[in-house]
Subunit: 261 residues, 2 copies
């Protein structure tokens, strides 16, 4: 029997410390193939490259592990991996370790989670991992500890009722971890604060900045878990239908009939 | 009392025929402000611009309607509109009319839907409109008819249990429309078919192409509705938690406790 085939990607780029940590752990479980962006792709969400072509280049950065960098987005990486690089469907796709949180509404903007979601859409068990430390040289010891536990559990038990997990890891030492919380996405959003500047030709330009607004009061969400030094595990769906709303709109709206006018 | 303030954006760019149609209809209902991408942004999903700055330029393409083009993504457009352009929170955000379908899994890749979702995250009733015709010169008569009916219903009744709709419009004449279906996102995905070519320097490059695979058997989904000449209306959530899976994983996994080891 083949060892599990594990596809690894990320959004911080193939040179990041986070993906090296992920590869190191994944190698304990199976045959690892890496396809990751050549450049930083944070905030790219589920973008795909439609107006330029893509390059795919083999690199020799991870010993015997086959690894490629792709000129496109995280989702492009997964698509080209599944279509052109791998000779069979992987047993698992893991993405990250992202340098920075993808908890709460960040899941929507995240290239790390989009790479995992793309594999999930294709029917593969997939996990995005993020560490709450933006630094390029972040210590990955706790992340590696967590990744190993979660890969083991996933390969053994699967992911029931979905095939996609958003795992966020508090930026603390292993002995400060309180445990793991399987929970929901916290309610929150980003309050924009555009930094307006003037260029040497007197024209305005803007840098997108902002701060996260936590709008939740529950203790069953990912932000709460992370604030209390738990690893948060949020099962994620790519069926975006607001199910309750289907029924309530069918009752309240008149535009749900076979009469056009 | 102020007339409703309506923010308009899209992903095909401010020069597209689809956004002109949307603006024309929106003007019947309230004060319209347009902030749309300067260039084509299809497939950009919920991407935000983090590594370059943004430009915002007023344009005079829509008569007395205030309109701006932004150098960034659809989501950047909505963020800068809410933060720097509008002096109050809009009553409605509409995005499109997209040239091409955003039904089923396309909702994940769509810049049109991401613009609407960004406004919804900020608490604004929002609708993405898409016409099943990719042509730049697509006839917008049916789209305008549908947009008018749906804006009227939304302003009158709101959108219960969510604040975001994905509306897709079949590419038929008005008298061929069967009606409107409030329904769910169909199950389906894209099968990639990378077009591999060799450049003049003997290096490979790839164009991302693919075909849509319909994997659903129900008659209560958007693809079914569109195939039967109904307008599909899917209420959308940006809480991606797979709720059923939270409970099932809490039962089946051991990694949900206060013990780390």
């Amino acid at each position: 029997m083949n060892r599990p085939l594990i596809l690894v990607s990320n959004d911080d780029g193939i040179d990041s410390k986070g993906i090296a940590a992920l590869i190191e752990v994944a190698q304990k479980f199976g045959e690892v193939v890496v396809v990751a962006p050549a450049s930083h792709q944070s905030g790219m969400s589920h973008a795909i490259t439609m107006f330029t072509s893509l390059r795919l280049t083999e690199v020799n950065d991870f010993g015997a592990t086959k690894a490629y960098m792709c000129s496109g987005t995280p989702v492009d990486c997964v698509k080209i991996a599944l279509s052109k690089v791998l000779d069979r469907k992987p047993d698992l796709c893991i993405s990250g370790v992202n340098h920075g949180s993808n908890a709460s509404i960040n899941v929507i903007y995240s290239g790390t989670m989009a790479a995992a979601m793309e594999a999930a859409i294709e029917g593969i068990n997939s996990i995005g991992f993020s560490l709450l430390n933006f630094a390029a040289n972040a210590n990955m010891d706790t992340a590696k500890f967590v990744v190993e536990k979660i890969i083991a559990e996933t390969l053994q038990k699967g992911i029931s009722d979905t095939n996609l997990l958003n795992v966020n890891i508090p930026n603390v030492d292993i002995d400060q971890l309180k445990g793991f919380k399987i929970c929901r996405q916290a309610k929150g959003n980003w309050r924009e604060e555009f930094d307006q500047r003037t260029d040497p030709f007197k024209r305005d330009y803007y840098w997108l900045t902002g701060k996260f607004i936590y709008e939740d009061t529950g203790d069953d969400n990912d932000i709460w878990a992370l604030d209390h030094n738990y690893v948060s595990i949020v099962p994620v769906s790519y069926n975006l239908t607001a199910k309750k709303s289907v029924q309530s709109l069918q009752k309240s709206w008149t535009l749900n009939s076979s009469t056009v006018v």
